[in-house]
């Protein structure tokens, strides 16, 4: 019998060890079958067969003890293999939990990275807007800066900057991409832009406030020293930009607080 196969190999996988035990059992069964056949041959009457066991052959009454011993040894190995499988299964479950934790941590860090990058991008936008407004040397440059902020950072190619007159009316000071229907002047109390000028409060379409112009996206009061000096009107957004974002509202705040000074009479 191939008892040597039962030797445990360090580092062998539980599956390999189970396979080894299985092969040993097959060997054992084969050996028992051979012994039974030999006994059957010995029991048959034949003058040429001696009743004495041949040299090197085990006595027939020793077989059950050998069998019992072998079964016990293999059972012990099987139990050991099961124990090893259980231990490795527990270890695998632990590692799987750890991998899941690490994946969760990775997701969290990725989300944090995205949030930080978005915040950086937003701060960069606000810095650029302020820098462009404060680097302007005169009204022309400042209005060009307002245009660039709206076109490139908010995402609209139709805007008008209206200056508030002493009469309360609004007069167009700078326009970009304006549709023909957009008026150059608004009388005091005439429409949404005049309302924004008189209240000094931002209008954003879709917030429930009435507006006579369905194309108007936002109207921002432009202030100087806390007083309204004009209104920035933004009509349609770019085709691939469906709505205003939080950053747009922060840019509106920057424009509201810092662009108006270029519309006051002293800035001319």
């Amino acid at each position: 019998m191939a008892h040597g196969n039962g030797t445990r190999r360090p580092g062998a996988a539980p599956g390999q060890r189970l396979q080894s035990v299985h092969e040993q059992l097959k060997d054992l069964i084969e050996s028992l079958r051979e012994q039974r056949e030999r006994r059957a041959r010995e029991a048959s009457p034949s003058p040429s067969v001696s009743s004495e066991p041949s040299p090197g052959e085990s006595p027939s009454d020793a077989a059950p003890e050998v069998l019992d011993l072998e079964k016990r040894r293999l059972s012990s190995e099987l139990a050991e293999a099961h124990s090893e499988v259980a231990r490795l299964s527990a270890e695998e479950a632990l590692l799987r939990r750890r991998v899941a934790e690490m994946e969760e941590e990775h997701r969290r860090l990725s989300d944090d990275y995205v949030a930080v990058e978005e915040q950086n991008s937003e701060l960069a936008s606000l810095f650029v807007a302020l820098e462009r407004l404060y680097a302007s040397a005169d009204r022309r440059e400042a209005l060009a800066a307002v245009q660039e902020i709206v076109v490139n950072m908010v995402g609209s190619e139709e805007l008008g900057v209206y200056r508030l007159e002493a009469s309360g009316g609004l007069e167009l000071a700078h326009g970009f991409g304006l549709a023909r229907a957009r008026p150059d002047r608004f009388q005091a109390g005439d429409g949404t832009l005049s309302r924004v000028a008189s209240r000094g409060a931002l209008f954003v379409a879709g917030r429930g406030e009435d507006c006579e112009d369905p194309d108007l996206t936002a109207a921002i009061p432009l202030k100087s020293g806390g007083r309204v000096a004009g209104v920035l009107a933004i009509w349609r957004l770019l085709g691939h930009k469906p709505y205003l974002t939080d950053l747009d509202h922060r840019l509106f705040s920057v424009l509201e607080s810092h662009a108006g000074r270029w519309l006051s009479p002293v800035a001319e």
């Binding site: 990058e117 462009r132 490139n152 908010v154 995402g155 770019l238």
Partner: protein
């Protein structure tokens, strides 16, 4: 290790400043040009690793710049990312026909820009 060089071409100083703010956090060497012709000349002279190219510009538009860069051996393989206010299919197709590698739309999203730049620079 040599820093990767990026050429920024845009006639808007607001956009150039914005792109510089976003990209300056990474160790890139940034070169700028404020119109199409200057952008083309700098692309030849500076041999950038990547070009961010505005579409609507004076002297030469971004599509033409890209076409000319693709005709020259030394700039044929340089990744060109078009920066456009037009996200419509037609405009994007024109960009690809001119030989651009990719495009982003204005308003520029910092994360998208960084991600595409790093992707084309193999980082």
């Amino acid at each position: 290790m040599d820093r990767k060089k990026i050429l920024l071409v845009d006639d808007s100083s607001t956009v150039l400043l914005m792109e510089k703010m976003i990209l300056s956090k990474s160790p890139y060497e940034l070169v700028t040009a404020s119109d199409g012709q200057a952008g083309f000349d700098k692309a030849i002279a500076e041999k950038p690793d990547l070009i961010l190219l505005d579409v609507v510009m004076p002297r030469m538009d971004g599509f033409e710049v890209c076409r000319r860069l693709r005709e020259r051996d030394e700039t044929r393989g340089v990744p060109v990312i078009m920066v456009t206010t037009r996200g419509e299919l037609g405009s994007v197709e024109t960009g690809y026909q001119s030989g651009c590698t990719d495009y982003i739309t204005k308003p520029i999203n910092g994360l998208e820009l960084l991600s595409k730049v790093k992707n084309y620079l193999g980082e």
